[in-house]
Each structure stands twice: as C-alpha cells, then as structure tokens.
Symmetry: C2
Subunit: 359 residues, 2 copies
C-alpha cells in the first residue's frame, strides 16, 4: 500500500546549475485535511535519505521516520494542520533523480542527471504546493539537508511561507562536514562495483555505500551517546577467527546493522548527488520579510551542523526581518536528535506552531 | 643516511595475546648523551604511524616529526637528557611487524603475524632500555597510541620509569574512536588490492589506505581549525568535468595531499594491526607507586581522545600513588596539537621535565 502522490515540475524544468529535466516530478505524502481557505499547510523537507513516508496513515500503515511527531495531538498536529512531506528531487523514492528513467533515452539518467542543487529541491516542494492549489504555506520545516532547503525556499519564494522552522540546518556547510561527506562519496566512487555510475541496480556498490553509511551513522550521533549505549562492550562471538579483523565491539555490530539496512534501500548515484548538493550550498541573501517568523533549532552535541552555524542562520533570518527564535537543545543524540529526542523536539516545534498560529 | 639502531627482543618473544616471535627487534634513534650514571634517559613512544626519526641529527639530517621539541635548549633538552624514540613493534620502520620477513618461512608475516597488543609495544621499549644498559628511565613519554603505551609500560614495569608523560592518550578507547578506526580498517579490508593481506608490496591497497588516512586526518584535527584554515574556499580548477565528483573544496585537496604521502610510506597490514591494538587496549590496574610523578596532557578540541578520558588517566595515576598533574590545553589543532602547537606543548612538557628533575 502506498500513500504516495506526485506533483509535476514545470516541463521543461531548468536546473539551478544548468541543464534541464523533462517530465520531472516529485513524490509526496500528506496527513490531515487541507482547510477550505488552504491556509493550514506545513510543508516538510527531509534529510538526505528519507522518503516522503514520514508517518503512518490509513493508506500506508508502515512505520514512518517521524511517526512520533506527525499525527492527531502531536507536535505537527494533524487535527489542525495539513502536513505535506516531500521526497527530495534527486532522491530515489518516487521523485525524479539519477536512478530514474530519462525519457529522452529510455535509460536511467545515472551521471547524465544534471548537477543538483539544494535550490532544485526547494523547487520540488514549491511544485507540490502549486499542485495542491496552495498559494501560501503556513510553515516550511526541514531538518538537516531539509534545513538548507527551507532557507533556499524562503530565499527564492519570499512570502510563500509565513513561517520557517530550521532543524539542525546550515547556511553553508563547514569544511569539517564537507570533508566527511567527501570521504563518504569517495568510498562509493572507489568501489569497483560503482562502475563509473553504470552499476546494475541489482548489483550496486554495496561496499562503498555501507562505508559511507557507517561514517554517517558515527557522525550523526555523539561520542557521549555511543559511550552511554555501547561503552566498550564486546560482541559475544566464541568462533572468531584470529586476525580476521572481524567486528569485536558492539558499536561495530551496530554500525554494520545500520549500513546493511541502508545499502538495500538507497541508490548510490542519488546519494552522490544529494551529498554533493549539501557541500555546495551557499545561501543567497534572503529578501527582506521573506518569512514573518522563524524557529531555528540546533543541538549542542551536533558535530556536523554545530551551534555556531545555527546562530548564523538565526542572524540571517533576523537580518531579513523575521522574528526569529534560536533554541539550542542539550540532546545527547547529536545531529540525529530530531529523530530520537521526541520530547524536546515536540515541545520546541509544537510550541512554535501553536503560539504563532493564525487565529 | 640513517641514525637507526636496533634492539633485540627476548628470543623467543611471547606476545601478550598469544603466539611468539623469533628474532624480533625494534628500531630506535637517540639524541643527546647518556650520562655515566645512565640516569638521564627519556624514552619516547610514538603515535600510530611515525618512525623513530623524531628529530634531525648529524647521522640523519632529514626532518623529524618532533624537530621542534627535541634538541639543545628545547623542551626535550638534549644538553641534559638522553632522548630515545622507539618505532613500535608491529610498525614498518625497522621494527618487526606484519611487513617483516618471518625467519621460519622466509616470507613476510602478513596476517600470520601474531595478534598485537599495546603491551607488546611497551615491551619493545623495554628491550631498548635493556640493550642500552639502562635500568631505569627518568621519564617515559608518549602521544596518542604512545600515550597508551606509556601506561602499559608503567603497569608492566613498575619503578622502571621515574616519571610518566601521557599526551592525548587513553586508558581504553571510547566507542566513538573505536567506530572511526573500524571504518578506517574496513576501507583497507574492502579494497580488492588488499587481497586478504597478500598484496604485492609494490601494489598495496592504496585506495583503502588513502580513505583511512583521510578519515584520520579529519578526526586528528578540529572543526574549528578547518574553518580557520580552509573555510569554504574552492580549488581553482577551470577544467573540472561536470559530475566527475572530483574535489572542489580546498579541504578536499588538502586531504588528498595528506593521503598521497601516507599511502607511499605506510604498510597496510601494519596499519591494521596497530589500529586494532588501539581499539583493544584496556589498561590493567596500575601497581602502587609504578611511577613517582606524572603529567597528563589533553587538548580541549580533541574528539578522538577527549578530555574526560584524560581525567580518567589522571585518576588512575593518582590512585596508584603518583603525584599527577593534568593540563588541558586550548589548542585548536585537536588530537594532532602535539605536532603543531609547539609553544604550548613545549611549555607544559619542558616545565614538567625541569621541575621534577633529579638534582
């Protein structure tokens, strides 16, 4: 069962960094009911890898990645709000991306997909609003990569969202994050199974993707959380071969399990495109009053999108005339805290959505 | 020209985790003059990858990795001290390791090298002292992996060193560091050129080693330093191929240059053994009064060997009755600061060596 819907991009769609797409579309899902005045939409962009399936629904009861945040009485209260979650342009869960068929050739785009920018992902969300007849969203919200996207959206479409919520986002990645993503991409690029991007979809560069995901998992959390959860606990394995260099610590087993799930779910070329788009993003100057109010959430233990970057977002929004609040959360989970520390994120986002809501 | 000397290990040498070595030796270099009473030796262990060539000398004027710290009038003042630097057992710069010839077979050990422990590296240093007729070192000193080794040395040979200096060391690695090293090793293990450890020395697993080194370089420094040095500066390259995923940011070019140097200098199997030895190290209880005085240095921005771990070392040494001082340095360079922030490290180590020196 699927709750997936689709919105068409302008055809042809001119990409931000050059090149065009024909017949491009983005996938999305919705929860709640669009008000007759069409004034209660919350448009959500995702991090690098999730699909639009952020929460269960009657049409798709499988678990979503933000089940604890989207629903009746939850922070994104579907009794009040019409919540829309968009699969990023360039991703592989229904939206057009490198793994999609190029209508001009009948083959997958692979590396013939035009260069992707965060701004293009924002345009994908804008196309969804248009397709639903929504002229103005109440709120645009995005974590991680999505935190970059909401800023690009506000920059390109001033006034099309009344409010903005940036969760662990960035005006432009720090070199530490660029360096880590560069190594993640190289692990894929150097995997012989990548085959210059021409891999068989049934034989993807699993080794490279797994390494990339392991490194991601390490940096999405915090050293303090690993210490608390795993310490130096060993894997119980009496059959270990000497000098096999097999995993010995529980943290290693955890990374392996996380990577195994990812390798079967995400396309390698899409990963490369989305990862590089994050590196390249540099927010253009925000037009005055592009949004009315903004909430910027950061997490103290986040090493990828650190707090000083959150303060920079706050200042950019204030300079653009938005009433902006910065919340720095002490969640131990680091960059991934928005997926885990639901009590703190519910409180911060829920309060913002209630307080500033139109009467 | 070489200043390299060698000391034999006991033959056979029984490894800490089982197995034996025949005809094993460790390489070392010295600076300064051993006093007639043989009471002025400082025994230095290294981090994971350096050789024993820590400083220039008449016998080998090539640059050393701690030139600014070892010499007349420097922190390790060779007018006063006889400084010995040891290449770790298991390494590939003269000491016996996986890249050495196994006398039993006439072939390289490769993965037939017995499992290596930090304690074995400490024994290598002890063999050097014995070979020089030194019954008691004034000071044992080690950064990073070497900071683990000095603790193992004090634990196994109480009283054989009067003083101990631990620089960014550990009683046992945190799971965050274990996770990162695990990914580094996997990058090597998964490189087809590794060939199950049976690679031709002229065709090593360069790709895996380069990835491992890049990840190392990222984590040996700090996000703040990368920001200061590189920011979001781009590589000037007008000939860039679209979608080649080639490096675009200066931080990426820097990582590439660092990795290229390393790949030609370090043996992959040795890297695997030394890296895993760091993961496995858990210091056994320190005997009472194993050293008289100790200096524990940590760096605030070190994400691999963080400050709470330095406090744990301080407490372990205090519990063993050593007069111990902890110094937390604000160096921006993170774990690698001992190689870069010479003023702060000179001051801290120089003062400790002068103050507590025998009359």
């Amino acid at each position: 069962m699927s709750a997936r819907q689709y919105a068409a991009l302008p055809d042809p769609y001119a990409m931000h960094l050059g090149g065009t797409l024909r017949g491009a579309r983005v996938a999305f899902e919705t929860w709640g009911t669009l008000a007759p005045a069409k004034d209660n939409a919350i448009l959500v962009f995702t991090g690098l890898s999730p699909s639009a399936h952020a929460a269960r629904s009657a049409a798709d009861p499988s678990p979503g990645w933000w089940d604890a945040m989207i629903g009746p009485g939850l922070a994104l209260d579907t009794d009040r709000w019409f919540v829309i979650v968009v699969n990023s342009l360039g991703s592989c869960f229904g939206s057009t991306g490198p793994a999609s068929i190029d209508p001009a050739t009948g083959e997958r785009y692979r590396l013939d997909f035009p260069e992707l920018a965060i701004e293009d992902i924002a345009e994908g969300g804008h196309a969804v609003l248009r397709s639903l007849g929504i002229e103005r969203a109440d709120t645009i919200l995005g974590p991680s990569l999505g935190g970059m996207v909401v800023l690009a959206f506000a920059q390109r479409h001033p006034g099309v969202a009344r409010r903005l919520v940036s969760v662990s986002g960035s005006l432009g990645a720090a070199p530490f994050a660029v360096a880590l993503r560069s190594v993640q991409r190289e692990a894929i690029l150097r995997d012989p199974a990548w085959r210059g991007g021409q891999y068989d979809p049934d034989a993807p560069p699993r080794t490279g993707l797994a390494l990339a995901r392991k490194l991601g998992t390490i940096t999405y959390r915090s050293a303090a959380e690993w210490q608390q959860r795993f310490g130096r606990d060993r894997i119980q394995d009496t059959a270990r071969t000497p000098n096999s260099f097999a995993p010995e610590f529980q943290i290693e087993g955890y990374l392996e399990a996380q990577a195994a799930k990812f390798v079967d779910a995400f396309d390698a070329n899409c990963y490369l495109y989305l990862s590089r788009a994050m590196d390249r993003f540099d927010l253009a100057p925000l037009p005055s009053r592009c949004v009315e109010r903004a909430l910027v959430i950061g997490v103290e233990a986040d090493i990828l999108f650190p707090l000083d970057g959150q303060r920079a977002i706050e200042m950019a929004l204030q300079d653009a005339g938005a009433a902006t609040r910065l919340v720095a959360l002490p969640s131990i989970e680091g960059h991934d805290a928005f997926l885990v520390d639901i009590p703190r994120f519910s409180a911060a986002i829920g309060a913002f959505l209630r307080e500033g809501a139109a009467p």
